[in-house]
């Protein structure tokens, strides 16, 4: 990696001041993705601002009034997976955190860093490929080896969004707290649904954050009572691998019970797909299939099929379509507590 100067603020106020003073400073949290980018010389900052010790960005707290969860952006995946309240009320989040990468990385990687990770496209990750994301003229994956790339919205840049945590967070309708040091460190709340940018919006960035902006926390609203939720992914290898496809399903059952509306009719369904598009992708068609219905194998199957509608695979990633359909089907059945098989050859 190229030489850089380093500074480590110990309060949010200090971090804000540092970032206001050095607007081009590159933020380091857990550092996992940053070190990777530095070592490949994909970023060559002159100043690295290490916010990993800022106490205001730590900790998991329940808001007593709203029941919403506030997760400090520096919360590690290990902490997230181990949190009893997360496991109980937002199980899909604990599932993604507990199964990502490796135990060592889960001890280092933070939730905020995960949301801001750069794509894992193997063309992007090699310095020798001047792709669109680096200001180049082409997306190499469109013509090259695209076995792991997007099957949706892939006309401009075929990256898949790398954040696993974004998949359940979006399904839980989370928002991110962001401060902008340039504007005096005022905190604002951005719904995660508005956070990610498509390549068509800006191919150089994956989210709306501008230089120096820091995610301080992630806010996840409390799910309605009896909500069922699950995060699943399919990996070729279980020890350490990138998912081929991911899905999070949140099922909110009908609140009132009557003869015509049994309790487990789905009132609201949130389905988000990962590793299939340049952003985490809401599967509206699949959600529509579930809404107002009782979850059965047939309905889950339909939802799985609906989730793949509109997919436009590239030359080498067509297998993602049947895999995604099946993954969504399983996630729906699991979220509804109706998964039929005792065994399956997948795990987180």
């Amino acid at each position: 990696m190229q030489r850089f100067a380093y500074t480590q603020p110990h309060t949010l106020a200090a971090a804000t001041a540092v970032l206001a003073q050095y607007p081009n400073g590159t933020i380091k949290a857990g550092g996992v993705d940053l070190l990777d980018l530095l070592k490949e010389r994909l970023v060559t900052p002159e100043i690295v601002v290490d916010i990993s010790q800022v106490p205001e960005c730590q900790g998991i707290r329940l808001d007593a009034d709203t029941g919403a969860l506030r997760i400090g952006s520096l919360t590690t995946f290990t902490q997230l997976a181990a949190s009893a309240v997360v496991q109980e009320q937002w199980p899909a989040l604990a599932q993604v955190a507990g199964g990502a990468a490796t135990p060592q990385i889960r001890n280092q990687a933070t939730l905020g860093g995960n949301l801001c990770q750069r794509p894992r496209c193997w063309y992007f990750r090699q310095e020798d490929y001047p792709c669109l994301k680096k200001g180049g003229q082409q997306c190499f994956a469109l013509e090259g080896d695209n076995r792991s790339h997007a099957i949706f919205a892939n006309q401009t840049c075929a990256m898949t969004h790398p954040s696993g945590a974004a998949v359940p967070l979006l399904a839980y309708a989370a928002s991110v707290h962001v401060i902008d040091p340039k504007k005096g460190g005022q905190e604002r709340l951005i719904p995660l649904a508005d956070f990610f940018l498509s390549p068509e919006q800006d191919v150089r960035r994956e989210n709306v954050l501008t230089s120096g902006e820091v995610i301080t926390a992630i806010r996840v609203p409390r799910p309605a009572p009896k909500t069922g939720s699950v995060y699943l992914n399919l990996k070729h290898k279980q020890s350490f691998d990138w998912p081929i496809v991911e899905a999070a399903v949140v099922l909110v059952p009908s609140a009132r019970q009557s003869d015509s509306r049994p309790e487990n009719i789905v009132q609201e369904a949130h389905i988000v797909l990962g590793s299939v598009a340049p952003t985490p992708l809401r599967a509206a068609r699949a959600e529509a299939v579930l809404q107002g219905n009782l979850i059965t194998e047939a309905i889950a199957d339909q939802a799985g099929q609906a989730a793949t509608q509109g997919a436009a695979p590239l030359a080498l990633n067509g297998e993602k379509i049947p895999l995604l359909a099946e993954l969504v089907r399983r996630a729906v059945l699991k979220a509804a507590g109706k998964f039929p098989y005792a065994d399956e050859v997948m795990s987180l």
Binding site: Q2, Y6, P9, G31, V48, T102
Partner: protein, 223 residues
């Protein structure tokens, strides 16, 4: 890239506080406690000033700066560039070469050390950011020269190593597991080392060694 661009340390050099690495707060604290005591400091107008306008921490580097690391209970101070990883400093500057750099991207666990008792990959950790934390490496497992850690003994007895290059990282992941789980299940063992690659294929013997070291039947591996 090859020329020297603006060196942030050069501008910081005009400010003795910043270039020396001594923060204004530590200076103030030292002064406060040493002269007037805490209550006096509480009313000091200087403190109000600090809280109103937060201090800017010093900018260190890019040239070598002193980095203080606590490794295996010993404190080392080395002069290194901020870009150096913890793995680089352990190996190249502290001669603690038990920690291996294998993939250099956090994917193989070869450089696993315990940072405040948690296994991390030291190749994806800046040394300068590991200050103030307790670092434990494979060299710190044995109690002195003679007394091996029971886990090390079990690795020998169950031949949980072949070429030996993944062994230090494996040991650290397993040590962390046993520190938090007295008798881990086979599944917990597999998960604990799931970030450690072994190219010789010694995993089953590693599982057996961890079972044995935790007082369990090593042959559980075969069932």
């Amino acid at each position: 890239m090859k020329g020297k661009k603006t060196d942030p340390a050069a501008s910081a050099a005009h400010n003795p506080d910043l270039s020396s690495g001594l923060t204004r707060r530590s200076f103030l604290k030292g002064a406060g406690v040493g002269t007037a005591g805490l209550s006096a400091l509480h009313f000091s107008p200087l403190v109000t000033q600090v809280e109103d306008r937060p201090e800017i921490p010093p900018l260190l580097g890019p040239s070598p700066v002193p980095v203080r690391l606590e490794v295996n209970g010993r404190t080392y101070t080395v002069n290194v560039e901020p870009r150096l990883t913890l793995a680089d400093v352990l190996r190249d500057h502290l001669d603690l070469t038990g920690t291996k750099v294998i993939c250099d991207r956090g994917a193989c666990g070869g450089c696993t050390v315990l940072l405040d008792n948690e296994p991390v990959v030291s190749c994806m950790q800046l040394a300068i950011a590991a200050q103030g934390k307790s670092i434990r490496t494979v060299e710190g497992l044995a109690q002195g020269a003679e007394q091996l850690d029971p886990l090390q003994e079990a690795f020998i007895t169950h031949d949980a190593l072949q070429c030996g290059f993944c062994t230090p990282g494996m040991l650290m992941s397993c040590r962390a597991l046993l520190d938090r789980t007295r008798q881990p299940t086979l599944d917990e063992i597999k998960t604990a080392v799931s970030g450690n690659l072994c190219r010789c294929g010694t995993y089953p013997h590693v599982f057996a060694a961890v079972l044995a070291a935790s007082g369990q039947e090593p042959n559980l591996v075969k069932e």
